[in-house]
């Protein structure tokens, strides 16, 4: 029996609530995630946008329960799947959720797949382990899945090894494994970063189709502003372990309410700016061992004022669906600098 049952009520499908994750290292405590909250509903696509070190992947790993603890620890926060806090579940109960109800696709399919087993074996493992199917039945299911993710000649290729597939096909195999048990939430961590644009378009289309068919909630982790604009319903922008802005996709591209989001959007090369300097956010992302006091973005921020160095800005509610963690979000929104 699966431990998490029952109707949704008003509770979102998946809710991350004030999550904190720390890593205890020799150099000190790395605060990778500092109070992140977001929700996903069935059929919805949430894009988590951020640079390396922003905590976007660590949050996802915490949801999946695949963080190495220690060195990681979760001092505070809840991760509720259909209302049940998964951080309070036993390891056994979490195993039931992981892979079956919440599944994940990783960035680099070649290193995520086991090179010494055939892809058919690896896909069918999901059915053997979680569903107790026989080898033969599980293999049939694997072929069906490979068909579903549009791998040509699935029946012939089921006994091939990962290195015999191209990058895009490997990512399809990863997707086949993740959707094998019809999960309700799919987390895709930079699923197309290692791929060419034409293959990226194929994979994103496949994900959208699978999502339409099964009404999965999709969490798309990425740093690509183009991919986000293409597929997301809503966006959470992360910086130094915090969500600095969250909003429906159209709002954020029309008028960002946080200086970091604004800077990212302005640094995209535009045709009419050819020959001019690109807008560049000055400075560097912060060291997570010694985060700046107050707002983590303040050393790089063109809107900075005195209190930015002392007060951590809360996530100001701009409207029912929007929030910005900037003291001066009104000015950012109006475009005054």
């Amino acid at each position: 029996m699966l431990p998490v049952e029952g109707g949704l009520g008003n509770e979102p499908l998946l809710a991350v609530d004030n999550l904190h994750v720390e890593f205890h290292t020799r150099a000190g405590i790395v605060r990778a995630v500092n109070g992140v909250s977001y929700t996903v509903d069935p059929g919805e696509t949430l894009a988590v946008l951020g640079e390396s070190g922003s905590g976007k992947s660590v949050t996802a790993q915490a949801i999946m329960g695949i963080l190495d603890m220690p060195p990681a620890s979760i001092p505070k926060g809840e991760i509720r799947f259909k209302g049940t806090d998964m951080l309070k579940l036993s390891e056994e109960a979490r195993t039931q959720v992981r892979g079956q109800r919440i599944a994940m696709i990783f960035q680099d399919a070649l290193s995520a797949l086991n090179p010494v087993f055939t892809v058919g074996w690896q896909i069918s493992e999901m059915f053997r382990v979680h569903r107790g199917m026989s080898k033969g039945d599980a293999m049939k299911k694997a072929v069906e899945l490979m068909d579903r993710v549009r791998i040509p000649a699935a029946r012939q290729r089921v006994n091939d090894y990962p290195h015999q597939f191209s990058g895009g096909m490997r990512q399809r195999i990863m997707i086949a494994m993740s959707i094998a048990l019809d999960p309700e939430v799919l987390i895709a961590d930079e699923p197309t970063t290692a791929l060419d644009v034409t293959v990226q378009a194929q994979i994103m289309e496949l994900l959208a189709e699978l999502q339409r068919e099964s009404q999965m909630g999709l969490i798309l982790i990425t740093h690509d502003l183009g991919v986000v604009a293409d597929v997301a319903d809503k966006i959470a922008v992360m910086y130094a372990g915090r969500i600095v802005e969250n909003a429906p996709v159209h709002d954020i591209y029309r008028a960002p309410a946080h200086p970091y989001t604004k800077g990212l959007l302005e640094s995209i090369p535009r045709v009419d700016q050819k020959g001019q300097d690109l807008y560049a956010i000055k400075g560097l992302p912060p060291n997570l061992l010694e985060l700046p006091s107050g707002c983590s973005f303040n050393p790089r921020c063109p809107y900075r004022q005195g209190n930015c160095e002392t007060d951590v800005p809360p996530l100001h509610q701009i409207s029912g669906t929007r929030g910005s963690a900037c003291h001066y979000w009104r000015e950012v929104l109006d475009g005054d600098r």
Binding site: V197, L225, G226, L264, A280, L284
Partner: protein, 337 residues
């Protein structure tokens, strides 16, 4: 900036890597046709962007230009002399004039050398450029030129962030005052907020020193921003070559059109109506490219003639720039910004 005289002339460049069988008596059973007949010119102060998917031969092209690989046939003339045939002292002298910035600043800098040694190493080989006593000052000047603190000359690469490391790589490329710099994916390993800084730096250096760039990248919006002309490669050949505006606004080759339409546009407005050409399958193997037009196996316009006759790169009716398609027809696929 003004574009000056021709400094690089590439004609019918071919690079095949032999495929062999047997251990003791190696028989050649075929060849990977990595670069298969590429011609172009480069002028002083000009940037030629080269785009294409992984495996299309763009990095091999860079290596042949740098004389790191000998061409199978064809010529690479730098200021009228063929670097592919040069040997010994002449080759060494010619190499001063063409330098490279690598993709990954984490692996292209020796972790056991100080920044001063890394940037100063070209002077060890080309002692005539800077006598021993001057080297330190020269290196400090270079650090300043690329926006780093000259006092950090004794630091090691790990003490710098990714963007700063790429600046070190650029300083090393500038050390011998070359006329041509080959940039192979110079920003793709960097965080989004840092990419703009490095691109601005490259543009500033070009204006300051009149450099010519070969700019290889897969990010089409970055290539558009920095390039004067763009070449699109597919399976070792150019399919289209023209001014940036010609390639982006009036692409004539179906592959270019598909490539451009696959790039996600960082603007969610009207995303449902956007035209998107999704290519089926993967590029064929460069060991055994299709007869006639190499793109025909994935092309929606392919007819019999495409299998029989190879389309040459030439200006075709109704288009203002060179393309290699029997049915070339300009078609505006993306209205970026």
């Amino acid at each position: 900036m003004a574009i000056g005289e021709k400094i690089l002339e590439v004609r019918d460049l071919v690079k095949h890597f032999p495929l062999t069988q047997g251990i003791l008596f190696k028989r050649q059973i075929g060849a990977i046709k990595a670069v298969d007949g590429v011609s172009f010119d480069l002028h002083k102060g000009e940037t030629l962007g080269i785009v294409g998917e992984s495996g299309c031969g763009k990095s091999t092209l860079a290596k042949v230009l740098m004389a790191l690989e000998r061409p199978t046939s064809g010529s690479v003339m730098i200021n009228g002399r063929d670097i592919g045939r040069a040997r010994g002292a002449e080759l060494k002298r010619m190499r001063r004039n063409i330098q490279m910035v690598m993709q990954d600043p984490y692996t292209s800098l020796n972790p056991r050398m100080t920044v001063g040694d890394i940037i100063g190493e070209p002077y060890e080989i080309h002692t005539e450029v800077a006598p021993k006593g001057d080297r330190r000052t020269k290196v400090q000047e270079l650090l300043e030129v690329v926006g780093l603190n000259p006092d950090h000359i004794n630091r090691y690469p790990h003490q710098f962030s990714g963007g700063q490391r790429q600046r070190i790589g650029i300083a090393r490329g500038l050390a011998l005052q070359p006329e041509i710099i080959v940039c192979d994916e110079p920003v793709s390993a960097l965080d989004v907020s840092i990419q703009a800084q490095v691109i601005n730096l490259l543009e500033r250096l070009q204006n300051e020193f009149g450099l010519a760039y070969i700019f290889i990248a897969h990010d089409l919006s970055v290539v558009r921003h920095i390039s004067d002309r763009v070449g699109v490669m597919y399976l070792g050949k150019y399919v289209e070559l023209g001014k940036d505006t010609e390639i982006y606004d009036r692409p004539a080759h179906p592959y270019t059109q598909a490539l451009l339409s696959a790039v996600p546009v960082p603007d969610p407005e009207g995303r449902e109506q956007r035209e998107r050409i999704i290519l089926q399958g993967d590029p064929p193997s460069p060991a055994n490219p299709p007869s006639g037009c190499r793109f025909r196996t994935r092309c929606w316009k392919a007819q019999e003639i495409c299998a029989e006759e190879e389309p040459l790169l030439q200006i075709r009716p109704g288009t203002g720039h060179e393309s290699a398609c029997h049915f070339a027809e300009t078609h505006d696929v993306v209205h970026v910004n």
